[in-house]
């Protein structure tokens, strides 16, 4: 494990202001049964508390556009594969520039590697894109097998249960707008009140604003305190955009944004 710590300490010495990684989750004084949580190490002593193993999957790229963190200066991020895809996507959307962030990745089960440039991150990624988890695949297929009434019943109950805490938005690295359309009130696009209609309109808009951008890290679903599978909305659109326009996002620095471009020869089967 010490190569993680030596690598991190070196980065601090080389001028990185903060190592954004994970530390064991703990509740109160008793146990460490909780999953690992994000940790900001800014000194050699704090580096000792860093871990990076199979249990760490929170997407730390969300901190790359948080002004309190960018204010710290050069950052080094522990990057899982979804985190890497998020960084590539953020670079394509001009939110992260070359040199803003370096990453430490898990080359294999024991070794760690430092990637300084976006190009290195891009090459590290190819051939390593993880497929959807089995549980998500099954739940998505189950939904696709339903008819319209059953799907409406499923999502209506979810939108009735949603408390609009916006954890799904805040956990997403690609939801970085200074003023979210849901917060703007001229016009009040999305009702502020957390009733079923307002929640439905919120989740429709969120999914559409991620279409062609979402890198399917699933953090929105994991952040939801009510356990709603909101990530499936974004996953389904990611699959649909890839099927329709042949582009998975967050893989290459030269990729386009499918929903902002077009091809005259795009086809559809429902516009008469």
């Amino acid at each position: 494990m010490n190569t993680l710590h030596t690598l991190s300490r070196q980065q601090l010495e080389l001028g990185a202001q903060v190592i954004i990684g994970y530390t064991p989750g703990s509740n109160g004084t008793s146990g460490t049964s909780r999953p690992p949580k994000p940790f900001f190490a800014q000194s050699p002593e704090e580096v000792e508390q860093l871990i990076f193993d199979d249990t760490c999957h929170y997407n730390l790229a969300v901190y790359l556009t948080k002004k309190e963190v960018t204010a710290l200066g050069k950052r080094v991020l522990f990057a899982t594969l979804p985190t890497l895809r998020s960084i590539i996507r953020l670079a394509v959307e001009h939110q992260v520039n070359e040199g803003d962030v370096a990453v430490i990745v898990r080359a294999n089960d024991t070794e760690y590697a430092l990637l300084n440039t976006l190009a290195e991150m891009e090459t590290f990624l190819n051939g390593r894109t993880p497929a959807m988890s089995q549980e998500d695949r099954e739940q998505l297929d189950a939904l696709l097998a339903m008819n319209q009434e059953e799907r409406w019943a499923f999502w209506k109950e979810a939108f009735e249960t949603c408390i609009r805490c916006y954890a799904c938005r805040q956990a997403c690295p690609l939801c970085y707008c200074a003023t979210c359309a849901a917060t703007a009130n001229q016009p009040q696009w999305i009702p502020v009140a957390q009733h079923a209609l307002g929640n439905t309109e919120w989740h429709l808009m969120r999914a559409m604003h991620l279409a062609g951008r979402c890198i399917t890290c699933g953090q929105c679903g994991e952040a939801c305190p009510m356990g709603l599978p909101v990530h499936l909305l974004a996953f389904y659109l990611a699959e649909t955009v890839q099927h329709e326009y042949g582009a998975a996002s967050g893989l290459t620095l030269t990729e386009t944004t499918p929903m902002s471009v077009y091809k005259p020869e795009d086809t559809t089967n429902f516009i008469r």
């Binding site: 963190v69 805490c165 003023t179 009140a193 952040a223």
Partner: protein, 335 residues
């Protein structure tokens, strides 16, 4: 503290619920997907019994996420305004309320009952009977400080004893009236089981008394910025909290008809205090995190002589980035 103590057999509890279902809207913990929530039940078996704590607190019954304040209709010559008819609000009984939730409602009420009295909250509160259930177990997130059998806020508090029966402490007149209406189901045993043996022991915050002063002293320290670096600024901790009562007021219209609603809001959101001019007294997440800590552990103790936290641990369990307020408070106190 309780007016009187009775014994309620397990079977009698079920028949009590049957009877309550005829008289009241009955709410209880219910399993919904992966979560347990206080929801309305139509039969005894709807009630979940294997749960530690519902993900949302019981505050939803007296301070719901969305609540109509009044309705209005815009007409040529003016606007007809119709206050919500609080007398039509339903009478409700909430079963299986955890002591921390009941205590949370009592703390909430201090804010809403201050002058000018919030008539809608008071009406909902007066029409709600809380039948609590002591906690036999706790998890690492709980930190109520050995108040797993606290009667504050409950009208009746049940504690399950060894043979599955319940020790019933009747706390308020509301509780007493209910017991009298169903006196046949309650027994007055000669000697009562020792309640403490059936109630979980739970950690608490250390040196609680001088927390308000310690936190005030740390107001300008960098610890709040440091601790909140990981905070992503969502509203989860405030919405799952039994004591958070911040709300927004919004108008919603359908054609010429509309209503003004009160709905949950969070001091964690970046736009909570922003002025229309763009000036924001709490510009950074560190200032917002400080407000959450100071309000619960310094301002409320000062103004309402009670902490704004019941130690239920929900914010620890639900926080997407696993911030642990019990740990962070201790850290701030030692700055």
């Amino acid at each position: 503290m309780p007016i009187l103590v009775k014994l309620l057999q397990r079977t009698s509890y079920n028949s009590l619920i049957e009877k309550l279902l005829d008289e009241f809207q009955v709410y209880a913990p219910v399993k919904k997907g992966k979560q347990v929530l206080y929801e309305r039940i139509r039969a005894v078996h709807d009630m979940e019994t294997d749960y530690l704590l519902p993900v949302l607190s019981a505050k939803s019954l007296v301070f719901p996420p969305v609540e109509t304040l009044f309705t209005f209709e815009r007409k040529k010559e003016g606007v007809d305004v119709l206050p919500v008819a609080v007398e039509n609000l339903p009478e409700r009984v909430l079963l299986g309320v955890r002591p921390c939730d009941a205590r949370g409602i009592a703390i909430l009420r201090q804010t809403f009952a201050q002058e000018p009295v919030d008539a809608i909250f008071e009406a909902r509160f007066n029409k709600t009977i809380l039948i609590g259930l002591s906690c036999a177990t706790a998890d690492e997130a709980c930190f109520c400080g050995n108040r797993a059998g606290d009667t504050t806020g409950s009208d009746i508090l049940l504690t399950q004893v060894s043979n599955g029966d319940y020790l019933a402490e009747i706390i308020t007149e509301k509780g007493q009236r209910l017991v009298e209406r169903h006196a046949d189901l309650f027994e007055t045993p000669t000697e009562l089981p020792d309640k403490a043996a059936f109630v979980a022991t739970v950690r608490g915050l250390d040196n609680v008394e001088n927390l308000p002063a310690l936190l005030k002293a740390a107001f300008d320290s960098k610890v709040f910025d440091q601790q909140s670096l990981a905070c992503i600024g969502c509203g989860t901790c405030t919405y799952v909290c039994p004591v958070c009562s911040c709300f927004d007021m919004q108008d919603e219209t359908q054609g010429s008809k509309g209503r003004r609603v009160r709905c949950w809001d969070s001091c964690g959101f970046s736009c909570f205090t922003v002025h229309t001019s763009g000036h924001n007294p709490r510009e950074t997440q560190g200032q917002r995190w400080r407000q959450r800590v100071m309000h619960k552990f310094s301002y409320l103790p000062e103004s309402n002589h009670t902490f704004g936290c019941v130690g239920c641990g929900r914010c620890i369990r639900s926080c997407p980035v696993k911030l642990d307020i019990s740990q962070l408070i201790n850290q701030i106190a030692h700055v």
